[in-house]
Amino acid sequence: MEYEAVIGLETHVQLKTLSKMWCGCANEFGAEPNTNVCPICLGMPGVLPVANEEALRLTALTGLLLNGRITPFAKFDRKNYFYPDASKNYQVTQYDQPSTLGGFVEFELNGGMGRVEITRAHLEEDVGKSTHFDRFSGVDFNRAGVPLLEIVSEPVITSPDMAYEYLNALKEILVYGGISDCDMEKGMVRCDVNISVRPVGQKELGAKIEIKNMNSFSGVRHALEYEIPRQIGVVSKGGKLSQETRRWDDVTGMTETMRSKEQAHDYRYFPEPDLMPFVPDEPYIASIKACVVELPLARKQRFMRDYQLPASDAQTFVWDVPLGGYFESAAKASKSPKAVANWVINNLRARLTETKTTLAEIKFPPAALAELIDLVDSGKISSRIAQDVFAEMFNTGEAPAVIVQKKGLLQVSDTGAIEKFCDEAIAANPKSAEDFRAGKVAALNFLKGQVMKLSKGKANTNLIGEILEKKLKA
């Protein structure tokens, strides 16, 4: 019998705010233990938490970036449990009325497209961080109360690769939208994996196994690569799986039981009496809509479609948004967007790095780059000279046509003049001429170089080749 995996992911992401969710302590990684704490995030009695408006805004924005909707009424609830890293003995979360519902994430997968539907993205708070010693554990509450977004996917993921690509796409969107820095090293993204297997064609889901607290995407992939065959192995031998929570061990590359259903938590959710519901009005939602940016994949596809760029160039402009913006300004003025992309990626970017210049400090307008490419395409200057013109443009900001004229750099396409240079080059290098006639094709390139040198870089490359070959074969 054939089996299939059904996977759903709960992804926790720390929001990019200055302060914590309910208090004015700094949301900051790496501070000395228990320096960013106050009576509110330490869960002292009698304190009053107040929601961080920026965290609510980022949550709503995430909903839209993930193609979901902002709900008209959201509230907070208490999830009750005892654990040393939870200062209040409950975690504030959104249980039945979250800030956003629905949506989907699209991504490239094995040469095609993948898509994962989103159930919801809701706002909650992070807990403290424990460090374990020989006989005790130590708790640092700096992280307690940091705004945490939980993004829940539908159970529609079918393979470790699909889970991996989904997570990467999700991360890219969140970084793009300014929602979170998603720094994995700093624990800003953590993942719970829900996985079950069932015979292909069966509707009912198998027993749900949860793998908790994964802190790397490759870890999720590895855990699934282990867990799917393990479950199929049990079921196909007639065994029975029961609902449980497992832990992934990076070192052994295996999962192991953490707790079974019998020990499952009973969280006794109830509305958080200290926090008022959130009811966004139309102007608020409109202001969030105005912050929706073009998603990375859409941008990549648009660059490939509108400018006929190869995927690698398009991806460069996805990673470097300002550079992509600059490219677009130049490409709009040009007939050869691909040439513009080459200049921007290979020449301009290198010069910017070398000279520590920012895009805003560039002395020539983007259209000047298009003009330079036009000069090459129309045969007015050689591509070799174009490099010099570019360097000059970069230093002075002068228009390419002006530089070409001032320095007399127009390409020589006068056959007579080039023939003269060719004759000189052949006369000066009889050995190379001999070699070429004897069948060494590379010798031609050397002679071409010599002609180019004699013309001070101005001779038309194509003509040099043609004339040289004609003369040598004569």
């Binding site: 700094a26 233990p33 704490v37 554990s137 130590g138």
Partner: protein, 95 residues
């Protein structure tokens, strides 16, 4: 009104309380009385009242995202039974 049956041992476990059999008996009666008392609410006709999670008619109570400062670490740890290196020291967490 019939008292609501509750599993006192289960609730005690959730609250991490350990009760003697006598206490279990006493708490059971008390909780039963409390629930019976609360149950009086079901006598009120609420068919025309919207359900709500809050009795206060307030929404959108927020604060700007501004860092306003924290407690000195010594002050934050003052009530901790045990502390070391700026950390709250707790029994070893194993799960």
């Amino acid at each position: 009104m019939a008292a609501v049956e509750i599993d006192v041992n289960y609730v005690a476990h959730l609250a991490r309380l350990s009760l003697t059999p006598e206490e279990t008996q006493r708490v059971s009666t008390q909780l039963g009385n409390i629930l019976a008392f609360i149950d009086k609410l079901s006598e009120v006709d609420v068919s025309k009242v919207e359900p709500t999670a809050h009795a206060v008619p307030l929404v959108n109570v927020t604060r700007p995202d501004v860092v306003t400062g924290s407690l000195p670490t010594a002050e934050a740890l003052r009530n901790a039974p045990t502390k070391a290196n700026g950390l709250f020291v707790v029994p070893k967490i194993v799960e």
